[in-house]
Subunit: 338 residues, 4 copies
């Protein structure tokens, strides 16, 4: 029962999909999409071309904020949770010395090739990344009722993977909860409430509207990239605050921590709720430090995951360009986390 | 000797960086960047915030073209060249059944977690991807004189990697060479000449200008994803046509084939030339079919590689939004290659 | 129904396990082990310490035959079957140049460390390898009734993996079927019959007895390591001939091809039969060329897979030392496949 | 200067190779092998077929000691040293559910295939393993003067790799240093001296002789597999004690810790010394607990690494069978570490 979801706000916004999902959803049951039995992307369906254009036309300057961290050997990640996920790994597959010893040369090349090549291994949930709707479900089912027995291969799902996620161009909203509270970072395991969000939005002078990508700043990135400080007991949102955000228009939820929600997870995780009951993707390990410093709370949000077929997630490099409604600093591209 | 590079066009455009590079560059020698000894990104430096804004403001509609292919087990790639690169691989690290047997549960979770997780292994040059300037060089040196002995670790370079590449927002130009010639795809190993490019540009009514990301359509994607048809003997550009494009303003060169240049490579490869002598990145395996079908030749080009520290390349998902100068089809997001 | 298995030979040998398995086994049902519900190794239980000692004491000389192929990038393997298995891959994780750039040095070391390190990725069924009893089953069950729902994690089974396989020291028997027929290799997809085996044994003057590790030579290794010639349509044994061997004492079946059985597999595979119904492990890609050339048909067989916890297989390097009953060539160690 | 190496013992044993190496070796210089410029295995050359046979003939019983640990996700290893090596990882490539969804079936099979397959990634120095002579060197050279510029590819060396190591069958000697001192384990970073070794040998009543594989027990395995307790500051041998062992006949040195030598390494590591100056391989993470408990100090040592082409190391599963000179317990195979 999610009575709170059937709020007047929801009704007044006419968010058919969102509210419909609510109607179908029950605790521990996956939602059916009003877009029909083939829908794999949930709320991202609701962003229209008109919305995209409107946002793009409000861009204030050519300044681009880079919302991604670097990916590197030793970075914090799933491997630190002790569930047996491989850490990020990278290696050279070709160097000039090796190429010479192995007598490798592309056909036709007479020139000695000074070739450098590398390969990587990583969890699809490494660094700044998007969670697909097939990342968690209830029992054998994920969002829209797709069943593992029918759609889960050994090389990923055949439904609702990262490859199904369209390019996301919509209004982005930063909610700087740590900033509103005047702290560098929220305390360990702090549960961000809907009240916290409302207070920060109010201080920022920002109002949510349907189609927003909402990015929440907990301040956790101040501990990046020290795995011991970054990984355990992160502050984050709860089901209640997640529901509030989605009810008020969010079609994508992100944060500057590993799991958006607070850790340790509540017995009923936010992850399962937003994927399976609300059709909302998550964006994790987002770099929000420059946006916060420059007090950029509204921006064109542009992001697209790699189209990793069937994957439960994908690394992503989201960009933000401040909108005209906000004083945007002229200048060059920010470099994100370095 | 690259006499063709010191053209009046170059001079008249005032392309300081490009022409400076020419002045410094000699056959089989890496260029020094006029941006100084620390520069790692070459021509991408020259795209200004003003240029970015101008392009964004010309976007005609919210229609987004997705220029990326899918990534999947079995896709064509470097592994097909027989040089020992690993093919794209992906696997599940968690499924509900496994989680139950392994008694894994995040701290705090009492709910049985229906968790699906995956990991992947790939060449950084898999699928649609960007080549970093450290991908090839001459002898021990790459662009701007960075030496392997000083900067090449076992986990990638510490210079000029994918992590140094800024978000790229600039005008994109499609040159549909196959289209101009009225063929589905150019013949095997066809060498695209500067004349070919000029003829296509002329037919399209498009003129290059400084800062353009230029994407060349050979038609090769009509053979995708059959490795046997797609990989060997691709048509592509030559040093001469690459030089012509860069001299006329291109800061990024891309194509719908594996290596932009024609295969088998000429004894002096385009790769080394554009990276080491011109400071220009490459974009490979770009999906251009919808752009070509809709005759969208000018667009806002938006792309940013993953910030893989030190990597010689990175998967990327470039986007294109038609500019007002062109009749853009209203509607939804294209889905790219499926 | 496996009436052929209840042969007088079986009865007279008193092979309790083997015959019991037959009694319990039915088509498409897994056998229960007479060793009890915890047994994970089947017929390997039946080799006694006395048998091991007897074999060791008959060793004729210090000459060792190496029955393993090399493992290398590009070797034929599962990846060639097109089911998405990764090919063997290997790379350097440390070289002196990289160590210097990355400023890596073990604590205490003041000496510049000229360190070379590598890592590998492979199917557990790469090169010469042993198949565990959990490699195939019927439905959800494997040998002895272990169910996937209870024992299959995402990092392997918790039952009947390669780690459960004890060191194998027993009498080894080479059956050189290709040799008996006077051909370099058996024809493509040739089905080796029990008659073929009997004829070769008879020509060799060898008789099977309980506890034998039986290695069958098809001659396929004459095509190694060309994937195109080696992988498709290999000659091999059938259920009928597998049953005959096990009934006559074999506790381990091996061959010089990829799957012991002939390819394409019969609708009822030998794999499932020997694992699930007979409790017998397989040994694949065994190098038998020197044994055959020297006409060594009886030998001490010494092999032990890596103890890869839960794995469905493991690379292995089996050794053979001729027994006194045979004229053994004095001399050095053979080097196996090179 | 290695004056201690030219001992009377060395001379009297006529250990040509060993002593010759000494003559050629100087500090920080690699040895040349008296076996000629193509020799890749050093002291292992000196074990003769006669020695092998003699050892095999002294085996007292069919009892086999398994000297290997298990390999599993989470096991301590190189990754714990923080130099960027990947930890052991393993995953399923096929399960019946996945096979069904992916519609994979080997040609010919009509039966629904209940197939389980897995793959692994590991450092070649994982678990119980052998170090090849190409694992460390001085500058650009390794044992016998092989130079990286000529022989180091991107997929391993082309010289002195694990594939060159012959099957090792020789007398094995356990030196139970922890046992002699009556402690469960030697203290952290304890330096085992030649005196310590002599005292333990004397107490055991064991004398070294040419060709021995010497395994040293520090007691460290009592901390296995806790990475925090097992990895840092292990007790081990020094150059001085390594030299003493080799001078007295050891052709292979092993121990029950990660690096045989004590950690932190001395400024001049034992590794480099034994590989590059003495041509002796190392065996690490050897499970010696049962041998020690049963006071089995002399045994037939049987081991062979995987023939990983060019690899700096290889997992291995060494076996020990007590010799008649010692009271051997009758019975079954020991299971090694579980």
């Amino acid at each position: 029962m999610h009575a709170t979801l059937r709020t007047p706000v929801c009704a007044s916004l006419g968010l058919f999909l969102s509210c419909s999902i609510v109607l179908f959803a029950q605790a521990a049951e996956v939602a059916k999409s009003p877009q029909g039995p083939n829908d794999e992307i949930g709320m991202l369906n609701t962003v229209t071309a008109a919305q995209r254009l409107a946002v793009l036309q409000q861009i204030a300057s050519g300044k681009v904020y880079d919302l991604s961290v670097d990916y590197f050997v030793g970075m914090p990640g799933l491997a630190d949770l002790g569930m047996g996920d491989p850490p990020y790994h990278m290696w050279m597959t070709h160097t000039p010395g090796g190429v010479k010893v192995e007598k490798l040369a592309p056909a036709g090349s007479t020139q000695e090739l000074a070739l450098y090549d590398d390969a990587l291994l990583m969890s699809t949930h490494s660094g700044t990344h998007l969670d697909s709707l097939n990342h968690l479900g209830y029992g054998e089912k994920i969002f829209n009722g797709f069943e593992a027995s029918q759609y889960l291969g050994n090389k990923g799902w055949t439904k609702a993977g990262a490859d199904t996620v369209p390019p996301i161009i919509t209004r982005g909203i930063l909610i700087d909860v740590a900033g509103e509270k005047g702290v560098a970072t929220l305390p360990e395991s702090y549960e961000i409430t809907a009240k916290d969000l409302q207070r920060a939005l109010s201080k920022q002078g920002t109002a949510l509207r349907p189609g927003d990508a909402v990015l929440i700043r907990t301040g956790r990135m101040t501990a990046w990239p020290d795995p011991k400080k970054f990984v355990p007991n992160e502050p984050g949102i709860t089901r209640e605050s997640a529901a509030w955000l989605i009810d008020h228009g969010a079609v994508l939820l992100g944060a500057d921590n590993m799991g958006v929600e607070k850790f340790p997870m509540a017995s009923e995780s936010v992850h399962t709720y937003v994927f399976a009951e609300r059709g909302v993707h998550l964006l994790e390990l987002v770099w929000l430090e420059e946006l916060a410093k420059d007090q950029v709370y509204e921006f064109a949000f542009i992001a697209a995951p790699l189209k990793l077929r069937g994957a439960t997630g994908s690394p992503i490099r989201p960009l933000a360009l401040p909108l005209q409604t906000k004083k945007a600093t002229e200048g060059t591209v920010t470099t994100g986390q370095e």
